[in-house]
Symmetry: C2
Subunit: 387 residues, 2 copies
């Protein structure tokens, strides 16, 4: 667990889910500064927190990598022992489930730049003995994927049956197919595209500014002192609006008041139920996520562009050798379904076997974390079509 | 100009457009506290800043009231003398234009709660001699409309050919038809609905929080000291995203970088052109708008519900006697076109002559301030169909 800052980041992680026997770490890029990032800057050592489910076959060819979204962690399936939180795709990962752990060896790790055990801005910079904070270098989706590749090599994985994820997880899955075309047999990318949209960048910028205008942020030097809770909470509120949809809010809250009564109607705070819900979502994240990680990971999303480093976007797509399953969500206002469908069309033009499906759901972008029945059926269908 | 705070609000207004001969003010609700708000709280005196264009007929029946949106003011048409800014609907108001000042007497006033000359949180509370700040009472769209009615009575207007506006302006137009059904012959409401949506409330809440987490906000007591510029700027950035659309951002910026070059690609600030554009929009508003007004007017939008005060939403609609022209914008993510169309359907069920039209535009909600050619044709069509 080299490079882990026990004071701050560990507290966040403990709040999210307590440490347990089954926690796994790998430290790579030693000696220091030996991991070369896409930006040209070197980083190291890099510690990776990961989870595995099921058993790797002797040929190392039954693995599936699950990639998490912005504020997720390696705990995708059932926790190895009793934890506070359930895995974020627990309904989909396990014996007999869509990602059947009796057949597949499932791996999920916390991304580079994260705050759940993998080196990120809250980790200790071994050169200074203090947290990196804003001295942490900008990382990209491609950097995350390269770390995951080293982890999988270490675990003896030779081939991936699939790389699957939603949102930022889908970005990683798509990047896998471009960066390591010969290792991946399929990609399942939900609510994700080949390059992040300008409106996505716009919302992410607003979220970053929310953190950065909080005076407690102190240019990222808040470790050991107070977190910029208000800023992070507001960032999460903006994010949550874009992860849902007006349909979803209409169904759940409409214009109903949080505290009924005429008096409250002319109050300023938390008047409507939807406001109270958002404040609650905002507050919750401040007990489990590092604000600087939020800045770096949202920046990595902004930088997501499969074409970077190749002569064109199409040249990057042409590298892909696997089947690509793309799912758009009908009410997604962050990754518009027409964009996801557009990527499928562009991939097919580049000779990729890309299949598009649309999930009809009122719940917006976050549907991949909500509509488990539909996700279960979809993933089963994708994986069985590989046989 | 009773109740106007020269120190702060006036500075804002001066920045927006300098004072000129033709500026008009009306002070109503004297003695103090004689204007009873929907909340049950009394306010007064109330000063209203307004503009008129064209001449009122002797019968007082050729008037059109133009209602402005969130950060607008009374300068809708051509300024009476050379000003820094053009009127926000200047292309539509004037001799021979859609709102033909050779035929119609056009009136536009700054809304109650605003900061361009009408009493709002930056105005002086005559009881204390200091700005109201957050002691200003919550005001509603209905309160704004009641102030406008008093102004029109004062000007001798007997009948309104139309009340027209977009966004919060459309809310006022619709409220006019419900509150004063016998005075209004038509309503032209663009990108507006009968009650604000939960996602609209959600975004407004985020915008208000942006202002309120800025330490310079000081619970609204910033007059005479620094404005919460960063907070207001962020509020405007969030707002601007919702006033545009991904299509619009794709067309204008795509993923292009503000400062080209590999180095900037891995920087944190203003990397993408869309970020730079939004920062510019955010900064601009801090030189022309009062943050507390932003809080009160966005709250008034949240409270917009034509049904409040009546036994039902339908009961309110059934009061309407005039033709209602509703226009939705195809890419609007704040007032979804299906919602606007839904209001037209509901109105017709209630016996109202409501007509729906959709403006196909990539520019999102703000199209009513951008697509002047289409707006011109639409308004001409609406007004000529009244003859």
């Amino acid at each position: 667990m080299a490079g882990i800052n026990k004071d701050s980041f560990q507290t966040i992680k403990e709040n999210y889910y307590p440490s347990f026997e089954g926690e796994k770490y790998l430290t790579l890029a030693e000696p220091a500064d030996s991991f070369l990032l896409e930006s040209g800057i070197s980083l190291g050592p890099v510690t990776v927190n990961y989870q595995t489910y099921g058993k790797l076959s002797s040929r190392g060819d039954n693995a599936i990598y699950i990639a998490h979204a912005l504020t997720g962690g390696s705990l995708a399936g059932e926790p190895p022992c009793q934890g506070k939180e359930r895995g974020w795709w627990e309904s989909l990962i396990g014996p007999g489930k869509a990602f059947d752990t009796e057949r597949y060896f499932i791996v999920c790790s916390n991304v580079l730049g994260g705050c759940y055990g993998t080196t990120g801005p809250s980790a200790l910079d071994t050169r200074t003995g203090r947290p990196y904070a804003m001295k942490f270098p900008v990382v990209t989706i491609k950097d995350m994927v390269r770390v995951q590749k080293i982890l999988l090599d270490h675990l003896g994985v030779k081939e991936l049956v699939s790389v699957a994820g939603g949102s930022m997880g889908g970005m990683q899955a798509l990047q896998w197919a471009v960066t390591y075309p010969h290792m991946v047999r399929s990609v399942i990318a939900v609510a994700s595209t080949g390059r992040f949209s300008p409106i996505g960048i716009a919302f992410n910028q607003a979220e970053r500014q929310a953190i950065m205008i909080d005076p407690s942020w102190c240019r990222g030097q808040y470790y050991g002192t107070d977190f910029p809770r208000k800023g992070l909470s507001l960032a999460r509120i903006i994010g949550t609006i874009t992860y849902r949809s007006n349909e979803s809010f209409e169904q759940r809250f409409g214009r109903s008041l949080q505290i009924a009564g005429e008096r409250n109607l002319f109050a300023f705070d938390e008047q409507f139920a939807v406001e109270s819900y958002l404040n609650h979502q905002g507050e919750k994240v401040t007990y489990r996520f590092d604000p600087n990680s939020y800045l770096y990971l949202s920046k990595a999303m902004d930088l997501h562009d499969l074409g970077r480093g190749y002569i064109s976007f199409q040249a990057a797509l042409k590298r892909i050798r696997c089947i690509v399953f793309l799912m758009g969500i009908s009410t997604d206002i962050l990754f518009y379904p027409q964009e996801v469908r557009g990527l499928a069309v562009e991939m097919r033009r580049c000779g990729v076997e890309a299949r598009y499906q649309e999930l009809k759901s009122p719940h917006g972008h976050d549907s991949f974390l909500i509509e488990f029945k539909e996700m279960e059926a979809y993933i089963r269908e994708c994986l069985s079509s590989l046989e």
